[in-house]
């Protein structure tokens, strides 16, 4: 018998080792039982040992029908009529529930992501009355009469929104976790640029114009509230620019030269 066959015989899944056979004998089980059967026996035995404590516990004695009908206690309940993606949903919630948890846990709209849950990452960005806001720091109770748009509400039927298409085209994501927030933020930023809103890097705050054409520097500053841990910022800026300008955008970055690297290191 070759070495390989020997090992196969000794370790074959249905064959017992010498040690296992010994345990079988001690348990009073017949020889010839397979490893699979042995494992089944051992696990069901340990399960019943584990479960036996419940057979005598008061928890087990109290059958379900003895328990009060509603076990869940709603603390400080608030009633909110939430209008999300053009649908009105009447909800009864614990007052602590954030808009983010309401969307994800109560309305099954899981496109909006929970990143940090502390207003530091932007993954939970949604539009409230057309303005980008963080759903993690917004209490659902404050959203009565507000118009909420999530990533699920951006598409026109099966036709993705222009920003969604641009993100696809330019690979504006890697893992995709921050993407719904990035896209909602971008959609709102288009409007902000149309309205002529300023940013910290705006040259002259007193010069007020509408329909701004944002530079890359402006886009980066204004999108700084959406962190991308994969670091695909170049592609995100590209995607935004494509929709913002209405033209096909080509990647505008290039690799740094040795000279530039040296300069950056010494600066």
């Amino acid at each position: 018998m070759g070495e390989l066959e020997k090992r196969k015989k000794n370790t074959g899944s249905d064959n017992l080792t010498e040690d296992e056979k010994k345990i079988f004998d001690q348990l009073g089980l017949k020889n010839g039982a397979s490893r699979r059967k042995f494992l089944k026996l051992v696990s069901s035995a340990s399960l019943s040992v584990y479960a036996s404590s419940y057979a005598t516990s008061p928890l087990f004695a109290n059958t379900a029908k003895d328990l009060p009908h509603h076990q869940r206690v709603m603390l400080n309940e608030v009633k909110v009529n939430l209008r999300v993606n053009d649908r009105l949903k009447p909800l009864t919630l614990d007052s602590r529930t954030s808009l983010l948890d309401t969307l994800r846990e109560h309305l099954a709209l899981t496109g909006t992501k929970k990143g940090c849950d502390h207003g530091q990452c932007g993954a939970c960005t949604v539009l409230v009355d057309g303005k980008r806001k963080l759903s993690c720091l917004t209490l659902a109770a404050t959203c009565e009469d507000r118009e909420i748009t999530t990533i699920e509400g951006l598409a026109d039927g099966n036709e993705p929104n222009a920003m969604q298409q641009a993100f696809l085209k330019h690979d504006g994501f890697q893992c995709g976790y921050c993407t719904s927030g990035q896209i909602c933020s971008s959609v709102a930023l288009l409007e902000e640029a149309k309205n002529g809103e300023a940013s910290y890097v705006t040259e002259d705050f007193r010069k007020i114009e509408t329909n701004l054409r944002l530079s890359e520097e402006e886009i980066r500053e204004r999108m700084s509230g959406n962190i991308c841990r994969c670091g695909v910022y170049n592609n995100i800026v590209q995607a935004f620019k494509e929709v913002h300008s209405g033209n096909d955008e080509m990647p505008s970055w290039e690799f740094a030269t040795k000279e530039q690297m040296k300069k950056a290191k010494n600066s």
């Binding site: 602590r96 502390h118 932007g122 303005k131 806001k133 720091l137 917004t138 705050f205 007193r206």
Partner: protein, 330 residues
């Protein structure tokens, strides 16, 4: 988060009434700081009184020839308001350096004044902090204090006020209008609104229990041509200031007639540089005078072990902000 009762106040009277009948209630504005602090178990109100929807959302003219900002108007709308951008661009610039588009859309003007320190010892409930739990000591004074105060701190607290908006308001010289639960209103000079920690660091401001900020009164605008808000931080956006400087200059006939100067990230309150302001009035706007002003401003700095860098950074930031304010084409 601990449970709380949510009270949606329909009007100011209802809000004030609710606040006066529960000492453990908190007003809720945009929630960008309060909700976070409640998640961290740092703030523990048992009732939130929603006030962001109250009707203080306008920008109106006041009797001093300036503008009054509604307490419940959000930061984005304030900073982008045509009249603010035109007459108080220093305020727009400072406000837009803060946080992000999303947060500025939520944060109210009143709430901006009342945001709490980002000192890590204040946030971490397993650490000592006199501001969070009076009497537990200050973890930062002998701990990690690179981000802490160099002016006006006490043995009990070395935390800094995090706002950018407030630094500009200190430079401009605003007044805060507050309503008391008994129905009366009062005006507080901006420099008297926040307080130094002393031996009661749990109190950030001089607001009385139940008082509500309804407006911020700006004086007649004089820094609309020469302004700059310089914010030095660990990344170029979406970070709190290590040091910031709000600089406004009124220049007539080539001479500085009035200077407005304040710093952020250096004290428990927005730090108005009164000595430097007075020094600059009547001087020529040049490098030598800007440097002399920055020396004066930093005279009383008492840095901690980890933040000695802020003294030199502060001086350079003051000179830089003044220079950029001056060189701005009017």
């Amino acid at each position: 988060m601990r449970p709380f009762t949510y009270t949606g106040a329909k009007n100011t009277a209802e809000a004030l009434q609710a606040a006066s009948s529960n000492a453990n209630a908190h007003y809720l504005g945009g929630g960008t700081n309060l909700i976070d602090l409640m998640k961290e178990d740092v703030e523990r109100p048992d009732e939130l009184i929603e006030v962001a929807s109250l009707d203080y959302k306008k920008i109106t003219s006041n009797e001093n020839g300036g503008l009054t900002l509604g307490g419940m108007l959000n930061n984005s709308e304030t900073a982008n308001h045509r009249d603010i951008r035109t007459h108080y661009p220093l305020l727009s610039m400072a406000m837009l350096s803060a946080a992000t588009g999303q947060l500025r859309n939520m944060a109210t003007n009143g709430g901006n004044l009342l945001q709490r320190t980002r000192c890590p010892y204040f946030y971490e409930t397993s650490m000592p902090c006199n501001k969070r739990v009076p009497g537990t000591g200050c973890g930062a004074i002998k701990g990690m204090n690179a981000l802490h105060a160099i002016f006006g701190w006490s043995e009990d607290c070395v935390a800094v006020h995090p706002s950018d908006m407030c630094v500009a308001l200190a430079a401009i010289g605003a007044k805060v209008e507050v309503r008391h639960p008994n129905g009366s209103s009062r005006m507080v000079e901006f420099t008297d609104f926040h307080r130094l920690p002393g031996d009661r660091p749990e109190k950030d401001s001089n607001l009385l229990p139940g008082e509500l900020i309804t407006g911020i009164h700006l004086p007649k605008p004089i820094f609309s041509a020469h302004y700059y808000y310089l914010k030095v931080r660990e990344r170029s956006s979406y970070a709190f200031a290590l040091v910031s400087v709000a600089a406004g200059l009124q220049i007539q006939g080539g001479m500085i007639t009035k200077a407005g100067l304040a710093m952020g990230g250096v004290a428990h309150k927005p730090w108005k540089l009164v000595q430097a302001e007075n020094y600059l009035a009547g001087k020529m706007p040049n490098q030598a005078n800007f440097e002399a002003a920055s020396e004066l401003a930093m005279n009383e700095a008492r840095p901690l072990e980890g933040n000695k860098y802020k003294v030199e950074m502060g001086k350079k930031s003051i000179v830089s902000a003044l220079t950029q304010a001056y060189e701005r084409k009017a």
